[in-house]
């Protein structure tokens, strides 16, 4: 029982961590990460009708 009590973090300390965490989230989420993020480059595909194709009605 005594061991368990020793391991307990104080209620105040616990909530202060949550508060700090929330503040940190607020700070980091305000950073425009997308400007620095490396996103896997998608294949850039250009769709062009073939200039010599002869179309028809169905």
């Amino acid at each position: 029982m005594a061991d368990q009590l020793n391991k307990n973090i104080g209620r105040r300390k616990f909530f202060s961590r949550i508060g700090m965490g929330t503040a940190a989230i607020g700070f980091f989420s305000s950073i425009p990460v997308k400007l620095f993020a490396k996103v896997k480059k998608e294949q850039n595909v250009k769709v062009l009708i073939h200039p010599s194709a002869v179309k028809r009605t169905k």
Binding site: I18, I25, S30, K34, V39, E42, I49, S52
Partner: protein, 1022 residues
Amino acid sequence: MSNSNSDKKNSNIWKSLKEYYNDPEIFKAKANEFNEGVTDDFDPSELKGLSRRRFLAVLTASAAVTATACSDYREKGEIIPYNKRPEGLLPGRPNYYASSMQLGSDSYGILIKTREGRPIKIEGNPDHPINKGKINDVIHASILNLYDPERLSNPLINKRKSDWISTDEEIISKLKTASDAGKEIAVVTNRVISPTVKKVFDNFKRTYSSAKFYSYELFGNENKRAAWKKSYNTLIMPSVKLDKANIILSLDSDFLGREGNTVENTRLFTDRRDVMKGNDFNRLYVAEGALSLTGSNADYRLRIRPDAQFEFVMSLLNEIVITKGIGNSKINNESKTLISKYSLNDFVKNKGLDSLKVNYLVNDLIQHQGKAIVIAGDTLPVDLHIAVNLLNEILSNTEIYDFEKGYNLNSDLSTEEDLNQLTENMTAGKIGAVIHFDTDPVYHLSSLYNYASALEKVETKITLTESENDTSAACNYVLPINHVLESWGDYKDRAGVYCLQQPVIAPLFDTRQAEAVILTWSFGSSKSYSEEMYHKFLMESFKDEVSYTDFNDAWYSALHDGFVVQNVSIEKSAVFNLSSIEGIIEIKSNDSYLLHLQPSYFIGDGKYANNGWLQEIPHPVSKVAWDNYAAVSPSTAKELNVKNDDVIEITVDNKSVKLPVIVQPGTADKLIAVELGYGRNIIGDAGKGAGVNVCVFISNNNFVSQWITGITSVAKIDEVYKLASTQEHHALDDMSVKDFHRIRNIIQEGTVGEYIKHPGFLHDHAKHELFSISKEVKYNGLKWAMAIDLNKCIGCTACITSCNVENNIPVVGKDQVARGREMQWIRIDRYYSGTPDEPVVSNQPMLCQHCDNAPCENVCPVNATNHSPDGLNQMAYNRCVGTRYCANNCPYKVRRFNFYNFRDNFADAYYQNNVTDLVHNPEVTVRSRGVMEKCTFCVQRIMEARSEAIKENKQLKGDDVQTACQVACPSNAIVFGDSSDKESEVSKYRDHDLAYHVLEELNVRPNVTYIAKLRNTHSEEV
């Protein structure tokens, strides 16, 4: 159907062997529509305990992750209108282009639909004289290969990215060195049916005199062609007017499924199975070892292993010529001596055949001389084909040969000696360079000619290919080529028809037309290349192939039409060379295990193995998807002590392969049938791990033919491999009623004789009293309905693939198929009757029935599924909350639920990328996770026709709309239209004597009418 007959015929209808033997597992499975506990209730007590502190920590962490994730997003782009609209393109309106495509040894006329420049659907060219608007599954689904994200997008030198100019220069210098040193340059191709490609090769040969050309096919009708040349020695092999044949005998020939131009064969065959035209049905006898699509449509089926087919033909010849004295004058004494060694009675006795069926066959062949045909399978040996040619000659069946639409035989494959010589020369270092022209011989020929190890000895190894394969992995130069929809081309495989292929989209990647690459090398400089190079070459070649008065008129009208019909004088008969029969080598069957390698229905020689749509279509006979397997008969399974999914090891000489087993009713005993094209080593993510490579068993020394051989040993091993079969998925619930299919008349059949005697026989049974809990709804005006003629439906699955492409149906992968989550909107239900050894097969396409009193609509809590004023049972996807009540309440089990966002879920988001997205039909919503979907009767096509009618200020008519499945059906078994219009075709089907609705006693009033199948047997008990 009279009660007594109905009882007799349907008393034992079953969908699988488990069902036949009343396996309790099957009833358990049917009680649980969604597998793997997905319908189980949520039980909080099963959750692990979570402390207050841990809960808050998890909450904080997830909030942090969410907030961080939300601050970043991928650029989705913006939709903006054209500021300079391309000529001839109206946003939102499709354009159509005619073209052609080669598949195996045949070419098909196609019509390509594009939207805003991107091809979204391939259909048959309705004007094409051979395939007449129909194409098979492979061509339908091949559009996905255009948008395969794993297509090669630039040249590779020793696996490293390169550019075209330096690659061309390097290769040209290597080719010159090889040629100057007198070393052979080998060009390996598949069968070449293009006259212009032949000219390209001639050009290449003029520059590099040491060039030699080799062509091969993994399978094809080379034996049939060789036999024709021996028997008749003409350069045109006639096709057969199947619509003129009263009697058809197929000897291991799957002419409706895998052999020849299957859409043409199906159209002609089913033309004589049309109840609207009368009751003059043809009669199909099939003698085969492994149950095929053709065999499953037989009126009479004889289980004969392929090694006994030769004896069967010779015995038939003996019976007809010697015993019955037919065609005596047509053969000489030597041939008579050869034939007289065989006896049909002995054959029937030794093989345990039903003598009644064989007698019917002989009598029919004699009675319908000149109006019958015997067709031998492509995998059977040359000598058997010669014997079949003689049999047709004796029976005057040559009268229904069609020389005018015959096959040009001017595109021979390399002989066994040639290919042996090639690999020997490669090993000996005599080959300076090898060019693989869109072929994969390392995968196909490694066992047959030791190709892979021979290739290692060649210094310059070049592959022209769309995507990586086993051969490209072994080459130092890999050059990406255009997809067929990005390419020019021409084909001349049939007499009197010249087909043109045109590109409809500029190359998506840095790829080139394969022929233009060869031409560049022929001109000896990389600078000679231009994008128009092959286009101009083809135009020049066109001048030689087609007669015209004004070139521009002829060229552009040929491109517009997709083909040119030529008036060529063709010899309309041929004289049988009797000496060909005298030289044949007899094949003696035995009782040991036999292996029959067969082509795949969907993935060709492996070229299409990375196409998810094709891999996911249930096999038309076994209903297995994503794998090949060893099909064995129930008796053989017992002998080997195996059941479905057990693994066996097959050894032929020194080569062994492990394969999972499927116990396939109707297979001949001691025969193991396996499909080729699977188990490629180098393949994209979609086809990875699909099936086993059995090309190792192909050999020129095989006992019967390259594809049919004796097995040295076969034994069960201690392994299990789970195959994904859809056979028992979406089963209509029969827990509460024993002999469900009989009592509830889901499959209704009769015989032609019965129908002639009493056309209304189907409705003789007592009608159910119909109750309704809903109010009668009156439909004023147009009301959509469909009819499916089961006499014409052969179960080919072209409708499924066409629907997949039209309606953006996702690929879900093997794992999800195994859980019963396949998404296809149509399924082909296959029922057996009879015994596991001699099953009679019935196919039934099953799709949303668009019931007037739809039970799915009543239970939807959010009214996401509801009814339109023109009779459609429609879905509002963004209203659906995914309760799945509708699926539970659908008696036909045709609703499909998106358990995941399947584009993201399958193979590590294989289909979620900028390229594959282009395949989507913009008129059909792409569904996401948690949404229910099902057949819409192609509502987008209805809306398009309606908008067209409004524009033209006319009344929309039922015939203005064709659904995707209807367009695809090669036998025209599907009819769609307005049931309110009593003159419409669909109304005529609905009012037909053979018309019935599935589960009509439920009074849900389905709008899909089935026409009962008639079997053209001699008596009702067969």
